[in-house]
């Protein structure tokens, strides 16, 4: 699956916090092993109980569009040919309170509405520098 913002667009650097989310191929969010709290983005300490023992939660990957903005002015030269594109914030059904940023596959930017049901899909891309395969979470609208 080619990328929503073009195959040349920048990739996230992978580290202990970003690797599970951007490589697992399942919507993977940080979860506290002590109290089961799910938080995003990941951090070094659980924001609910301050435990340090943090693991990962595999979400079913269903959600809802909570906000959408259509970018017309590219602020980076590599995105000049990609505008207009939509940025969305998605609430994750099985991770209350969390919002995940993303783009939407297969929808005209102006057609995306707050309240739309979505499911996760993944962009598969190989990082040319590390040769690591990324599976970047994105969204597609689920028409009931």
């Amino acid at each position: 699956m080619s990328r929503v913002l073009g195959d040349g667009w920048a990739l996230p650097a992978l580290d202990d916090h970003t690797r599970p989310f951007f490589t697992a191929g399942v919507l993977t969010l940080q979860q506290c092993r002590a109290c089961a709290h799910v938080q995003h983005p990941p951090d070094d300490v659980c924001e609910a109980c301050q435990a340090f023992d943090l693991g990962w939660f595999e979400s079913a990957g269903r959600g809802r569009i909570e906000s959408v903005a259509v970018v017309h002015h590219a602020v980076h030269p590599a995105l000049k040919d990609q505008v207009p594109y939509a940025i969305v914030l998605v609430s994750v059904t099985d991770a209350p309170g969390v919002l995940v940023a993303g783009n939407v596959f297969g929808a005209a930017p102006d057609a995306i509405q707050i309240g739309d049901a979505v499911r996760v899909v993944f962009e598969h891309v190989t990082d040319p520098t590390s040769v690591e395969t990324l599976r970047i979470p994105q969204w597609e609208i689920v028409r009931e």
């Binding site: 959408v68 590599a78 990609q82 993303g102 520098t129």
Partner: protein
């Protein structure tokens, strides 16, 4: 503490379009500081503290050496964010002076974007894993600028409360209209019409070009000292009645609890309590417009109107001119006067209390400044007329 410290002097450089300043950023800072100190009527050597905000590059020791301070006793920069800390900087100086840690503290902001590049400019290169740390979560999806982040909050606020594009337009129109009275303003002589607003290009929905503050070069400064000392200086003191910084119990920009917020509910609660007043007691208000939509949220969160009523509150010319129902951004604000990361609004509030604004509201007893919305913690300050 309240009213124990006051603004005794204000100063600013000429304002310039981005990259047009003939001076370096450090020179701009020195000009603004010198003018604020001269306005107060004290000796430059008697300044003993500096406070700024937002990654200020002009360090206090460099300033103290260059300006010939006898001693430097207080420095401070509120943590986090950007223009949201503008009123918190005044609060920091107020705390220092009121506690006796310093006598004459200059609060300032200077920027020369031609010299140092643009504030809020997107990092990250194309190709390869270049989006590091916190940038990975949003930058991967092409969310790179403050405008885009504030657009997501504004879009949700508009959706939830039935706000139309016209409400955003009203903020821009008011700032441009008030700038037509202010010869310092970069938009002086360049009025904006409703048609021109709607015809302007989209930056990111729901923001047109005119919903976004410009980028400018310049400097502005204010001298904070005790109200008692200020009584003997050149101008009638303008006491800091109260200031507040706040966020909580929900933190983080993009969470379900904070989406559609500008982070000003806590600021409002603490500010009104500390100032022993409410929104109805405000005679003139300056709201930091990074983006017009964020101002609508801040007006609502500060308690001036319910979210559903904020469009009516700003419409029909209710914000325009000295006799406005709600005198607002009387110098033209960030959109109309200049974007010195909001600091012009501090000086404009002082002018309103002194009675020498170019858009002077009658008998100003309480002047409010609300710093940058959409970033946390927010901050705000009330200046008052000397009792």
């Amino acid at each position: 503490v309240h009213g124990a410290a006051a603004i005794a002097g204000i100063g600013e450089t000429r304002y310039y379009e981005r990259g047009q300043s003939p001076h370096t950023e450090f020179q701009l800072a020195c000009i603004a500081i010198r003018r604020a100190v001269e306005d107060a009527g004290i000796a430059l050597a008697d300044v003993d503290g500096f406070v700024s905000y937002l990654d200020q590059r002009n360090t206090p020791t460099r300033l103290a050496r260059t300006l010939g301070l006898r001693e430097l006793r207080w420095t401070g920069v509120p943590w986090a964010g950007g223009g949201n800390s503008m009123a918190a900087a005044i609060q920091t100086a107020d705390a220092a002076v009121s506690a006796g840690y310093a006598r004459h503290v200059v609060v300032f902001r200077a920027l020369a974007q031609g010299q140092f590049g643009r504030f809020g400019q997107a990092g990250g290169g194309s190709g390869g894993a270049s989006l590091r740390g916190a940038f990975a979560w949003n930058g991967t999806y092409g969310m790179l600028s403050p405008a885009q982040q504030c657009a997501l909050h504004t879009a949700r606020f508009m959706h939830d409360h039935g706000i139309s594009q016209e409400a955003l337009c009203e903020i821009a129109l008011a700032c441009y209209a008030n700038a037509q009275r202010n010869p310092r303003a970069l938009r002086y002589g360049k009025p904006l019409t409703r048609d021109a607003y709607h015809a302007s290009r989209w930056i990111v929905t729901p923001f047109h070009l005119y919903d976004c503050c410009p980028e400018n070069d310049g400097g502005a400064a204010a001298l904070v000292t005790s109200t008692e000392r200020a009584r003997d200086l050149r101008h009638r003191p303008v006491p800091i009645v109260a200031a507040a910084t706040g966020i909580g119990p929900a933190y983080g920009s993009f969470t379900q609890a904070t989406l559609g917020s500008a982070h000003y509910r806590q600021v409002a609660r603490h500010l009104w309590e500390a100032a022993d007043m409410g929104p109805a007691d405000v005679d003139v208000a300056q709201f930091y417009e990074n983006f017009t939509g964020s101002v609508l949220i801040a007006i609502s969160e500060m308690g001036f109107a319910a979210p559903e009523g904020v469009e009516a509150f700003v419409s029909g010319g209710r914000l325009v001119g000295p006799d406005a129902a709600f005198p607002f951004n009387t110098s033209g604000g960030n959109l109309g006067e200049a974007y010195i990361h909001g600091f012009g609004m501090i000086n404009e509030s002082v002018r309103q209390v002194r009675g020498d604004s170019t858009c002077q509201v009658r008998d100003v007893r309480r002047a409010l400044v609300v710093a940058g919305p959409g970033y946390s913690p927010g901050s705000a300050v009330v200046f008052g007329a000397l009792e």
